[in-house]
């Protein structure tokens, strides 16, 4: 039942702004919405909602488990939500409250006083001074009464056990330094490929792109051996130094963007006596900041999530490890305690997720170029 204006507004907000000049000129390809489409809209939107709910439900489960007590997780027949059994204080003891079906057909909440295999005695919380009630049957078949009780302390426990502040610092330091390296080197290389004609340029660019398709295994051992000879294994250097030598993905992304910037201003700057470096800094970069931000965010997420690099280079020294590696080590020790594992898992993923939500439009923009101009 949406009016045309509301639908148009929706369409406007939904379509991400493209920053590639040629693309922007081409415009979006969505045909305009028509009247009488509301049934299709409803069905499609419903499908998307159900799909999304299924897709993100593991996250919800993780949150629920992170705040469950270990007792609840290991017991069968407990509620889906985090809960503790309700108890009743009787003669200085905490007795669990159970739902007991009595011979007269009524079901009452009674506190289990003396559990027995064949018969148990219960106390009525409403009348604790009355004589205990004896009930025939196995008390284990009875249902507990639960109250909502999130166990936030799981997060605090993980914070100490995993040494979260240190892992966070390590991860952040590695991510930031390697992002700086990536930005510096990829900007230079992309500028070289985008703005200068030199013999072998297209061959070298093809070679650069080809490295995307190269299996890591075919270079890892000599590289590892060199780092070991240099005494770098067990330090951050193997993760940081290579980022200062550019990588194919980010060079490609930046070059594609630089190509969309008109050369007139470069030429004007050159006439004014600006050298290539000056042109890059005062002409290209001020116009290219969206792609710089996109690459920075991509690389931060990549570095945050990287597992293999830290695994082979940092395993020997727990003090310098990243959060991804720390979580795996934590799982190796505490795998019997799913509540702690899920809490640790959430503490690992929360920062990239929040960072993404704040910067999501740059993600779309960054990839728009890669996809279309491939």
């Amino acid at each position: 039942m949406a009016g045309v204006s509301a639908a148009d507004l929706q369409d406007l907000t939904a379509r991400p702004r493209l920053f590639g000049r040629r693309r922007a000129a081409a415009g979006g390809s969505r045909p305009p919405r028509e009247r009488g489409d509301s049934t299709r809209s409803f069905v499609l939107t419903l499908i998307a909602i159900v799909g999304l709910a299924l897709f993100l439900s593991p996250m919800l489960r993780s949150v629920v488990y992170a705040v469950k007590s270990t007792d609840q997780i290991t017991q069968a027949g407990t509620p889906l939500w985090p809960a503790d059994p309700v108890t009743f204080s009787y003669q200085g003891k905490e007795l669990p409250l159970l739902l007991v079906p009595l011979p007269d057909g009524s079901i009452r909440q009674l506190a289990l006083f003396e559990p027995g295999r064949k018969s148990s005695t219960f106390v009525d919380p409403a009348a604790p001074d009355a004589a205990p009630i004896t009930w025939q049957g196995s008390w284990r078949t009875l249902d507990h009464i639960w109250q909502f009780a999130p166990h936030w302390e799981n997060f605090a426990k993980v914070w100490d056990l995993i040494d979260y502040p240190r892992l966070l610092f390590n991860t952040l330091a590695i991510a930031i330094i390697s992002t700086i390296g990536t930005l510096l080197s990829c900007t230079l290389v992309a500028y070289g490929f985008a703005r200068f004609r030199f013999p072998g340029r297209s061959f070298l660019f093809t070679l650069l792109i080809a490295t995307i398709f190269l299996p890591t295994a075919v270079t890892i051992i000599p590289t590892y051996t060199i780092f070991q000879k240099l005494g770098w294994v067990g330090t951050w250097l193997p993760l940081l130094v290579p980022t200062f030598f550019a990588n194919a993905y980010d060079v490609f992304l930046m070059r594609q963007y630089f190509m969309t910037i008109p050369t007139e201003m470069d030429e004007a700057a050159a006439i004014d006596g600006a050298g290539p470096f000056r042109t890059l800094i005062s002409v290209i970069l001020p116009q290219a900041w969206p792609v710089v931000i996109a690459v920075a965010i991509f690389h931060l997420v990549y570095a945050w999530n990287d597992f293999f690099g830290p695994l082979i280079y940092l395993s020997s020294n727990p003090d310098i490890q990243t959060i991804a590696l720390g979580l795996q080590r934590f799982n190796g020790v505490h795998y019997r305690d799913p509540g702690l594992i899920q809490a640790g898992t959430l503490m690992t993923l929360i920062i990239p997720v929040i960072a993404f939500l704040f910067t999501q439009r740059f993600f779309t923009r960054g990839i728009v170029i890669t996809g279309v101009d491939k």
Binding site: P242, V353, G371
Partner: protein, 315 residues
């Protein structure tokens, strides 16, 4: 080679003095990558190839020597190599179609003009892509657990009384791993979305005038126009799936459980490097992997001529 312009009297046909000075700057700017390429790609690749003809290992007890094709002979007769290759292939046959098609379907849904709030859906479907994969493994490990997992909870609710034990059963482990990989669809999805946006709307208008239905439009316009992006996704997917091993490594600690079903090729390769420290044999496996990747990629590029449609020269 002849100079395009007669005005140029210098011996170099394409580069005048000024152009050469510019060209030199070009090399200066790409120098970081050239150095990095030589140091971290080209030379290590050659060294890896050289390793395959020697007996290098990390603790080098016997003297380093040239062993000819011995590593390759071992390779041919090593049952574990072929078993692990079969594991990778089995997984790939399931993971690759899902990894190529599902992001496409989701992208089509998100691109539909009938969908309300597509901006929010786009963000939320992409979201799990930024989750560190180790965290993703632990989230899904719980989700797929036989008795406390919500997947089986849902299946039981739908009337399936004995749902599979996804991660402990040698048959169900592959679908299980594919489900675990679903959180990665964001990458492919967003590339497809970019491609869908690039399709000129007049094609759809023309199809509409010709009376084409939704399916015909998809079949004759969307898919052909998207074929370069689909091709790109398939090539990257093949290269990635051949290297797949980190998820089972974290999940099963590299044991290959259940029943050897997670002894992926790349796992065996890295075990040779880091566990058995047999660098030479590991290098031989690495080159085998490289050869397979390259072969499949070239095959795909060759097939592309028959089904990938590039609209116009300008692109």
């Amino acid at each position: 080679m002849t100079a395009p312009s007669a005005a140029r009297s210098r011996s170099r046909p394409r580069f005048s003095g000024l152009a050469w000075r510019r060209a030199r700057w070009g090399y200066v700017f790409i120098a970081p990558w050239i150095i990095g390429f030589l140091a971290f790609t080209a030379l290590p690749m050659i060294a890896t190839l050289a390793f395959t003809f020697t007996n290098v290992n990390l603790n080098q007890a016997e003297p380093l020597q040239f062993v000819g094709l011995r590593n390759y002979q071992t390779l041919v007769s090593d049952q574990r190599t072929w078993d692990s290759l079969a594991v990778t292939l089995k997984f790939a046959l399931l993971a690759l179609p899902v990894g190529v098609c599902l992001p496409f379907v989701v992208a089509l849904l998100l691109h539909s003009r009938h969908l309300r709030g597509s901006g929010a859906f786009r963000v939320l479907f992409f979201l799990p892509y930024v989750v560190p994969f180790v965290a993703g493994v632990f989230v899904w490990q719980g989700m797929l657990s036989a008795d406390t997992g919500w997947v089986n909870g849902l299946l039981k609710f739908l009337g399936i009384s004995h749902p599979p034990d996804w991660l402990q059963d040698p048959t169900w482990i592959y679908p299980g791993l594919v489900i675990m990989g679903l959180w990665g669809i964001g990458g492919g999805m967003i590339i497809y979305l970019a491609g869908l946006k690039g399709i000129p709307s007049d094609l759809y208008e023309a199809a509409k005038i010709d009376g084409a239905g939704a399916f015909a439009t998809l079949r004759h316009i969307t898919i052909p126009m998207m074929s370069p992006v689909i091709f790109f996704t398939i090539v990257l997917g093949v290269v990635d799936v051949l290297q797949y091993f980190l998820v089972p490594l974290v999940l099963k600690n590299g044991t290959g459980e259940p029943g050897g079903s997670t002894n992926f090729f790349n796992l065996y390769l890295y075990q040779n490097f880091f566990t058995f420290q047999n660098m030479s044999y590991g290098a031989t496996l690495a080159w085998l992997l490289f050869a397979i990747s390259l072969g499949l990629t070239l095959l795909l590029f060759r097939s592309a001529r028959h089904w990938v449609y590039y609209a116009g020269e300008a692109r």
